[in-house]
């Protein structure tokens, strides 16, 4: 089977050959049959004509003899006519017999002999007898004539019979010939059909193998390809079409293999980039971040050196981070030839601002000036990859990777460097913001500390002169400086009152500054609720009376003793109840109640005073905040009391809540977690106070405070 036969041609051949053979066979058989039949028909017709002619010959001769005999006997004219008619009819029979026998054939010879015998009879017997007529009976020659006639007649009859036998033989021979021909044709047709069938089967089989085998191999190859054996190729064989399919599949497999390789490379690269970026992102501080970047990239790209320079304003700073393979000397902070400004200017000319600039060989054409290239070369930087670090559109640095020998930077390497640079840019700007933020926070903390220190020290400094003022005023009022007039006493009392206000302000400022700086310490000890409330009421009773207020005190019997800083809580309640009194017009109602709740002690102060405008309620605990109502009502205060109260309550892990409606009143609730005083534990959010102070210091401090 030749290589490269077309499948179509083969298939056409496979079908055409048997069909054509069959058709040719059928046509040939039909034609042969027709020919034989025609021939047989012709022969048959001829023989029939001959047979009839032959029979007529004999019949006419018999008729002639019979008529002659009758004529001899009767002498009638009619018989004589019959004799002549028979003679005439013989001629017609002869003509017919001749027509049925071809010239030169044995049949013609037999007919011709009959004709000559008949002529002979007529001449030797018939006509002489006829001429005699009835006379013949008496003629002595009649007997001879008859004998001669009979002899000829017998011969004629024999010849006629011979002719009949010949015709019969001939017909038999014909029949045999037809039979043989038909049999032969049948065999031929059968043989032809068989041959066609065999040829068809053979060709079909060959064709099937020719097509199916390569197709099967293609199928198997495809299966291997599908299973991942990407190196599989199909040998092109079989028909052109199949070979074309195989070649197309090989092409597909090749491109698939290429794609797969690219895919693998890409995913490997993505993995490298991903890992690197993940590690980069861990750093929040600039220097560790940059060190990580140069090391990661240097290792990932199998480079000799990797370093970073950062922008400092409009120029670039020194090398901020450098990585190099062991055994290499550091480049130094500001190596010649690596002018980042120039590098950046170059990079900026590129379409993609984040794209890497790859220089395979610095001695070749690079876009750098001669001096820089030589300097790079002398430093051992033969091949460099330069990538800008971007924060948004701004270049905030440049990342350089280099090798000591000529190196072709692949797209893969460039992509890795670009991705890492991109991530570095982001991480770097984060780190920078973080550092700035941290600096700001530190600065703010320092400022806050300075402020607290200032407030604290200024308060301390205020105390001494204030102490003097108060002390001397008291001294004078006590009469230690001699007798004083009424106006003098009044003036001194004003001085004393304002000095007291000033003192309270200073103390409050100090307390608040301690609360805010975290230096405020509560002294925890057992607090008796009854005593606490009673103490507050005792202090404020004169004010309540002075303003003619109705006062309700409700202390739940279950409240008992709890753990807290009694002095500071007293301060809180004094402040809250003091506010209630100050902001309630004469005749109003104020109350102080203490209730035991499930896990807390709650103190509630209510009043029917001016209330707090809703929009101001959120700022109540802000230092120096004073309600507009206090200004309207000319009520004095520092605006520090509630801020301090909140600090103290917070210090107890408690909560302070305010409900208020203008011109209706205010309700303030303080909830202090109810810690058991009998089993002291560390109070929430507060360092435990030194035991000797909480035990021994308190009575003294209370004495001092009173």
């Amino acid at each position: 089977m030749t290589r490269g036969a077309r499948l179509g041609r083969r298939l056409r051949l496979a079908f055409a050959v048997p069909i054509a053979a069959l058709a040719v066979g059928a046509i040939a058989a039909t034609a042969s049959l027709a020919a034989v039949t025609r021939q047989v028909d012709e022969l048959h017709a001829q023989e029939q004509t001959l047979d009839q002619g032959n029979a007529e010959l004999l019949q006419r001769m018999i008729d002639a003899r019979t008529a002659l005999q009758q004529y001899v006997v009767t002498g009638s004219f009619e018989t004589r006519t019959a004799y002549e008619t028979a003679q005439e009819r013989f001629a017609a029979g002869l003509e017919r017999a001749r027509a049925g026998s071809p010239v030169g054939s044995r049949a013609r010879a037999l007919v011709d002999r009959q004709a000559s015998l008949a002529a002979d009879w007529t001449e030797k017997a018939g006509d002489p007898v006829a001429a005699l007529g009835t006379e013949a009976l008496r003629s002595p020659g009649l007997a001879d004539l008859s004998a001669e006639g009979e002899r000829i007649f017998s011969e004629l009859r024999a010849t006629n019979e011979e002719t009949v036998a010949f015709i019969d033989a001939e017909e038999l021979a014909n029949r045999n010939a037809i039979h043989q021909t038909a049999t032969l044709l049948g065999w031929l047709l059968a043989a032809l059909t068989l041959a066609s069938l065999l040829a068809g089967v053979f060709i079909a089989r060959r064709t099937t193998n020719y097509v199916a085998d390569p197709l099967e191999r293609i199928g198997k190859s495809l299966e291997r390809l599908a299973l991942g054996d990407l190196g599989t190729r199909i040998a092109p064989e079989g028909p052109v079409e199949v070979r074309e399919v195989a070649e197309a599949l090989n092409l597909l497999a090749s491109s698939n293999q290429t794609l797969s390789r690219i895919q693998n490379e890409r995913s490997a690269r993505d993995r490298v980039i991903g890992d690197t970026c993940r590690r980069i992102r861990r750093h929040l501080e600039i220097d560790p971040l940059l060190r990580q970047v140069v090391e990661e990239l240097g290792v990932a790209l199998d480079a000799e050196r990797a370093f970073i320079r950062l922008a400092e304003g409009d120029v670039f700073g020194p090398i901020r981070a450098e990585w190099r393979t062991p055994g290499l000397e550091p480049l130094g902070l500001d190596p010649p030839g690596i002018d980042p400004v120039m590098v950046l200017a170059y990079l900026r000319r590129l379409a993609d601002p984040g794209a890497a600039l790859a220089i395979d060989d610095v001695t070749g054409r690079t876009g750098f000036d001669e001096r820089s290239r030589r300097a790079l070369f002398e430093m051992g930087l033969r091949s460099v990859l330069v990538v800008p670090l971007l924060a948004g559109p701004d270049a905030i640095g440049v990342l350089v990777v280099s090798t000591g020998s000529v190196h072709h930077w692949t797209e893969h390497e460039k992509a890795v460097a670009e991705a890492v640079a991109r991530e570095t840019g982001v991480a770097l700007s984060h780190a920078q913001s973080y550092e700035r933020e941290r600096e700001t926070v530190t600065k703010l903390r320092e400022l806050d500390q300075v402020k607290s220190d200032f407030v604290s020290s200024i308060s301390h400094e205020l105390r001494t002169p204030l102490g003097s003022i108060m002390g001397y005023t008291e001294l004078l009022l006590d009469g230690d400086g001699g007798e004083m007039t009424e106006p003098q006493v009044h003036a001194l009392e004003v001085v004393a009152r304002n000095a007291r206000r000033l003192r309270i302000l200073v103390e409050d400022l100090l307390t608040l500054s301690k609360i805010e700086s975290g230096g405020f310490k509560l002294t925890f000890g057992p607090v008796d609720t009854d005593e606490l409330v009673e103490g507050v009421v005792e202090v404020l009773a004169p004010s309540i009376a002075e303003r003619s207020l109705v006062f309700d005190k409700v202390v739940d019997t279950a409240t008992g003793v709890f753990l807290g800083d009694g002095e500071q809580l007293e301060r809180v309640l004094l402040n809250l109840l003091g506010n209630a009194i100050k902001f309630t017009p004469p005749g109003g109602r104020v109350s102080l109640s203490a209730t035991r709740e499930i896990e807390s002690i709650s103190f509630t102060v209510t009043d029917t005073g001016v209330g707090i405008p809703e929009e101001e309620q959120g700022r109540l605990f802000t230092r120096f905040f004073r309600s507009t109502r206090s200004h309207e009502a000319h009520i004095q205060g520092t605006g520090l009391g509630l801020a301090i109260a909140k600090g103290i309550v917070d210090g107890h892990g408690g909560r302070i809540q305010v409900w208020s409606r203008e011109n209706e009143g205010t309700k303030v609730t303080v909830r202090i977690p109810a810690l058991s005083a009998t089993a002291p534990t560390t109070p929430p959010r507060m360092a435990q106070a030194p035991p000797d102070v909480s035990a021994g210091g308190r009575p003294l401090s209370r004495k001092a405070a009173s």
């Binding site: 102490g467 006590d478 002294t523």
Partner: protein
């Protein structure tokens, strides 16, 4: 007449205390720092010392500690003048052996009361 040593670096405060105590019949001497105070005590033993904490040269705590360490002066009553907000001062003052303390700013009247109280307790 009881002799009282007032140790206070602020001149006006010192003068105030001295004036007040004198007007109540005490014999008052003054010192403006710790060293001076120790010299005064060594020169003549006072019946009571009013001692400021924050002073140049030698602070109130050191003075108090030295007084307590010396058997000759160990029993002299000491009232310390401290700032109330400073819990650590109170703590330390008591630790070094002060008998009482007063938070600044203080009332001269109350100081006189306490001085009287301590002296009467001592003589009793």
């Amino acid at each position: 007449m009881s002799g009282i040593l007032v140790v206070e670096d602020d001149f006006d405060t010192c003068a105030l205390i001295a004036l007040k105590l004198r007007s109540h019949g005490f014999d008052v001497r003054t010192a403006t720092n710790g060293e001076e105070a120790l010299a005064e005590i060594a020169a003549a033993r006072p019946d009571l010392v009013v001692l400021d904490i924050m002073m140049p040269k030698l602070g109130g705590f050191d003075v108090c500690r030295r007084l307590r360490d010396d058997s000759a002066t160990a029993d002299i009553p000491v009232i310390m003048l401290t700032s109330k907000a400073r819990e650590s001062d109170v703590e330390q003052g008591l630790a070094v052996g002060a008998d009482d303390y007063m938070a600044k700013p203080f009332s001269p009247r109350e100081l006189v009361d306490r001085v009287g109280l301590l002296l009467s307790r001592r003589s009793a």
